[in-house]
């Protein structure tokens, strides 16, 4: 049996069989691609950006409201380059080391989730940050606060001695 018979009923060589194969006319498809791809490129968004809302804490700056007396205490997360502390008023609740200057986000989430229900205000937290902390770490801590159930975030600066861990 000759090789040529494998490609068709008649006696033909492989090259002849390929020549007789049906070829689709893909020119309209290419035209469609050429029109649709520039349109999609103009409408494509390659970097998705979002926002994180926050405010000035009510006992700081322009948000101070003295008409309702002493403001209620909120959970405060003190962020320093070396540590993260969770405080409530004068009480230090938790203190976490920040190895390499990076706050331990998972541990902080666990601490905040545990402490959240102990506060009078369950959905608000104040993040107090020292001057030397880089902005990226501030956003990480704010993310941890939101992940722990705090929906309202306040951002303020921390005094250099605030939240210092007790030796």
């Amino acid at each position: 049996m000759s090789v040529g018979r494998r490609y068709g009923p008649g006696p033909c060589t492989p090259s002849e069989a390929a020549e007789n194969a049906v070829e689709l006319d893909i020119t309209p498809v290419m035209n469609l691609f050429i029109i649709i791809i520039p349109f999609l490129i103009t409408m494509a968004v390659f970097t998705h950006v979002y926002v994180v809302d926050f405010g000035v804490p009510p006992n700081v700056g322009a948000g101070l409201d003295q008409s309702q007396g002493k403001p209620k205490l909120r959970i405060t997360v003190v962020l320093a380059p070396e540590f993260v502390a969770v405080t409530h008023g004068d009480k230090m609740l938790d203190s976490l080391q920040a190895p390499g200057g990076v706050p331990p986000v998972d541990s902080l989430k666990a601490c905040l989730a545990r402490r959240r229900m102990q506060s009078d205000i369950h959905d608000e937290v104040v993040v107090a940050v020292r001057d030397a902390v880089v902005f990226d770490n501030v956003v990480k801590v704010m993310d941890a606060c939101r992940a722990s159930g705090f929906v309202k975030l306040g951002l303020s600066s921390a005094a250099e001695q605030a939240g210092e861990p007790v030796p």
Binding site: S15, E16, A18, E19, I26, V29, M30, F33, I36, I37, L40, I41, M43, A44, V45, F46, T47, H48, V49, Y50, V51, V52, D53, F54, G55, V56, G61, A62, G63, V129, R130, D131, A132, V133, V134, F135, D136, V138, V139, K140, M142, D143, R146, A147, L155, S157
Partner: protein, 161 residues
Amino acid sequence: MSRRRTAFGRMPQDGGGSAAAFRPQLTSLVDVMTILLVFLLKSFSVEGQIVTPSHDLELPVSSSTQPPKPMATLEITRRAISSEGTVIAPIESFMAQDSLLIEPLHKWMQMVRSQARDTLKSRQVLIQSDKAIPFNVIKRVMYTCSRAGITDYAILVLEQQ
């Protein structure tokens, strides 16, 4: 004489090679186009992007999924504070001073607020800051904005992959 296809699909005619039809193989091109089409369809957005991040700063990454709203924008790069491309104050000009108030920024924010006619929108500001900026700079910007009457802040972040 049999008609034989060359590598580019050229098929010599019986009369000679002068009237040969050139038929390129488009299969691989269609493959590329199909992959490109799928990728672009995945990136397609009807809404577009309200806020375009400034090119000379690296935004922090966050798990937030809240879309941005139109409001006054401040960009804090490693060199200067600017708004929509207009440099308001270089970083070195206010970092040495004791006062937290940045005078040029205060004037700018007052002008922005007056243009917005003291509506709710005029009390909001969107901060685009480089992720390596120390909080000392952010603090001064927030203090100045607060003095200008801004009460609500938002920071622009990149989507966490």
